[in-house]
C-alpha cells in the first residue's frame, strides 16, 4: 500500500509519500560536495517539463496573434498578463516596467501551471518538491541582484545593501542585511513548498479517516471535506503563484530603488 512506505510498515511516512520520487528513467547518480545527487527522471520532473512546455506553447501562440481584439484563449490570458503588469510591475519599476515584466510573467505562469497540474488526480505537484521551489527561489535571487546591479551599477548597489545609518550601527546592520539576502529566497522557497503540500496533507489525513473508522458515515464526511479542501487548493494554487511573483517583484523593486 502506498501509505505504508518507509521503515515501519504500520507507520505512514508522509514525507516519502509526498515526494513520490520513484524514478521513471535512470539517468545518473553522483556525489557533489558530499551530497548525493540524482538526475533520474521522476514524476515531478516530467510534470515540470509539461508545465514549461504548456507555458511556452500557450504564451508564444498568444503573443504571435495579430490585431488588437483578442480571440480564443487570448481572452483568458491577456487580462492576467495586464493585471501582473499593472499591479506588480508598474508600482515597483515605474517607467522601467516593460524591461522586467517578462520575468514576472514567466515566473507566474510556470508556477501556476505546476500548481494546477498537480491538482489532477494521479499527477504530482512539481512545486510541492523543495528542490523545484529552491530552484525557482534561486532564479528570483539572481533576478533581484541583477536588477539592482543593472539599475545602480555594481559599486552603488553593493554600497546600498546597508542603508545609511550612524557608523557604529553599520557592522551590525551589515550582518542583518546579509542574513536578509539569504532569508528572502529561502522564505520564498519554503512558503511555496509548504503551501502546496499543506492541502495535500490535509486531503490525505481526511482520506486516512476512512481507513481508521471503516464506516460509511466517516467515508461520506471525509469525501465531502476532502472535496472542499480540493476547492481551497485551487484557490491556493492561484494565490501562491501570485504571492511568489508579487514578492519577487517587490524585492526586485527594492533592489532597483534602494533607500538613500
Amino acid at each position: 500500500m502506498i501509505l505504508a512506505a518507509g521503515h515501519d510498515p504500520d507507520r505512514i511516512d508522509i514525507l516519502h509519500h509526498l515526494m513520490d520520487s520513484e524514478p521513471y528513467f535512470h539517468v545518473a547518480d553522483f556525489t557533489l560536495f558530499g551530497q548525493a545527487i540524482s538526475l533520474d527522471i521522476t514524476k515531478h520532473v516530467l510534470l515540470m517539463w509539461l508545465a514549461a512546455f504548456l507555458v511556452i506553447v500557450l504564451l508564444t501562440s498568444i503573443s504571435r496573434q495579430k490585431g488588437l481584439v483578442p480571440r480564443g484563449l487570448r481572452n483568458l490570458i491577456e487580462p492576467v498578463l495586464l493585471f501582473i503588469k499593472d499591479e506588480l510591475a508598474v508600482p515597483n519599476f515605474h517607467d522601467k516596467a516593460d524591461k522586467y515584466v517578462p520575468f514576472l510573467w514567466t515566473t507566474f505562469f510556470f508556477i501556476l501551471f505546476c500548481n494546477l497540474l498537480g491538482l489532477i488526480p494521479g499527477s504530482a505537484t512539481a512545486t510541492g518538491n523543495l528542490s523545484v521551489t529552491a530552484g525557482l527561489a534561486l532564479c528570483s535571487f539572481f533576478a533581484i541582484h541583477v536588477t539592482g546591479i543593472r539599475e545602480n551599477g555594481l559599486g552603488h548597489y553593493l554600497a546600498s545593501i546597508v542603508p545609511p545609518v550612524p557608523w557604529w550601527l553599520w557592522p551590525l546592520l551589515l550582518v542583518v542585511e546579509l542574513v536578509g539576502l539569504v532569508a528572502k529566497p529561502f522564505a520564498l522557497a519554503v512558503r511555496l513548498w509548504a503551501n502546496m503540500n499543506g492541502g495535500h496533507i490535509v486531503i490525505m489525513v481526511l482520506m486516512g479517516f476512512i481507513f481508521l473508522f471503516k464506516n460509511f458515515l466517516a467515508a461520506g464526511i471525509s469525501v465531502a471535506a476532502a472535496t472542499a479542501i480540493y476547492m481551497l487548493e485551487i484557490f491556493v494554487a492561484l494565490l501562491q503563484a501570485y504571492v511568489f511573483t508579487f514578492l519577487t517583484a517587490v524585492f526586485m523593486g527594492m533592489a532597483a530603488h534602494p533607500e538613500h
Binding site: L15, V190, N195, G198, V243
Partner: protein, 74 residues
Amino acid sequence: MEGLAMLGAGIGAGIATLGAGLGIGKIASGAVESIARQPEAAGDIRGSMILTAALIEGVALFACAICFMIQAKF
C-alpha cells in the same frame, strides 16, 4: 519519549496556527478599516496587506514544517 515528541509536534503546529491566525486577522482588520476610511487607496492597502500576510504565513509555515519533521523523525 516517542509519544512526547508527537505531542510536542502537535502542540507546536497548534501554537503556530494560533499565532498566524491572530497576526493575519489583525492585518485584515486594519486593512478593512483603512479601506472603509479611504476607499480610493484600496489598491495600495490590498497590496501591502497581501505582502505582510504572506510574510507572517511564511514564518508560520516554517514552524509547521519543523513540527512535521519532528513527526516524521519519530
